[in-house]
Amino acid sequence: MEGQPTLAVDLRDVMIRFGDFTAVKSMNLQVGEAEFVAVVGPTGCGKSTILNTVTGLLKPAAGEVSVFGKPLTGLNDQSGYMLQQEGLLPWKTAQDNVGLGLVFQGKSVEEARAQARPWLAKVGLKGFEERYPHQLSGGQRKRVAMAQTLIMEPRIVLMDEPFSALDVHTRRLMHRILLDLWQAERRSLIFITHDLDEAITLADRVVVMSAGPGSRMVGDVPITLPRPRDVSALQTTDEFVALYRQIWSLLGAEVEKSYAAQG
């Protein structure tokens, strides 16, 4: 489409198969530059598969993947990926973990530390530079992981249920930090979650996927809530509740289906 701004991520009719198993049947996902998209869906619908495709770890069996207008070949060098599980190196301090990607790029440890310190401050961990992961709480480790991903300044940030293991209060704190960071420096962000509250609170758009296997997109709802958003007050507003109902009408049926398939 001419005249339109280039999309950061463009998945067209993407099919992902593992042998005979079709994980994703036909996925269309367009993410604009600096757009925050949340993907929700029942367990096992292949949400993580989509991120792995955008990263270039998985090759689609059919369809096209483009990143900033160019077809993706090999690994995506524009993306940063924050995993669901703990991926910090236990033998490195918080600041060395944050600077890890820079060291991998060939920067000196001193240089990496100098850059890592302000990032730790940004995620509210000033004073924790010399702590080892086991000396940090679950939420603090997540913040280190977030800084570790964002310090590389990827144009596309991919997050796979990053806060699912945290308690409600810590999760809300993480939402606030993430939104502040994103507000300050907008990047394209694909956020996978099974928590609809979380999706609506954070995103510009919520994409709903059908139950797997062979899942596809069943809904694409723009979130019109104004920004900047107040994470703690947002969820009781009428607008929020209306959006929740609208998306749940799509998602709820799929969740039922996935239960039926498991049962």
Binding site: L88, L89, L100, G101, V103, F104, P133
Partner: protein, 257 residues
Amino acid sequence: MPRRGKVVLVQVAIVLSLLLVWESGVRAGLIDPFFFPAPSTLVARIGEWMSTADFWTDVGVTLLETILSFVAGIAIGTTLGIWLGLNPFAAEVVQPFIKMFNAIPRILLGPIFVIWFGLGLTSKVALGVTLVLFVAFFNTFQGVREVNPVVLANARLLRASKWSLLRHVYLPSATTWILSSLRVSVGMAVMGAVVAEYLGSSAGLGHLIAQAEGVLDAAGVFAGIIVLSAFVVALDAVVDRAEKRLLVWRPAPAHEV
């Protein structure tokens, strides 16, 4: 009194009473000093040794052999462990051979090493290396294989090169395994050195014991064993220090004994 103090007190009491029974048994004629020389005799013997230059040469020789076989064994074993840990194909090919070599009672290689390398330092180090190597190898191999897959995936997503992965992920992960086996390795290195000396040499603590044995001097053998134990305990303390230094990042154990 704190728990730690009590423990030490009881330990000292046990040792002292044992020595007391032994000593008085010998003096009362109940224990034959030919087979079990009195503790006082052993202390006197060790004191006598310590005033001679030859004894210190022996200690120095054994120490040198131990350190050389320890360092060489760890270096070879670690390299082999990393290589095979990262190459499943090579690991599968080599595995039966490694098992075979490991099954050989290594002590029996001593005489062969003496034939190959002579009575000097080399044959002692060779035996020590064959003992240390396998401990280091198996632990490194395990360490490399059991790297947390999430940590590995995360490092790869941060675009770590092969070399970076080795340096920042595989090696530190294997280090914990290697360190936990260091104590065993040190014991192995000492054993290799002393046994090889015992089998044939002109210096070292093993040689000292072999000489005493040759003239049926039980006091000499016992004294030698005591000196060797002290030797191992001292090395163990050094290893302990190194381990604490290198594993600062590890959570403290839940129950400190």
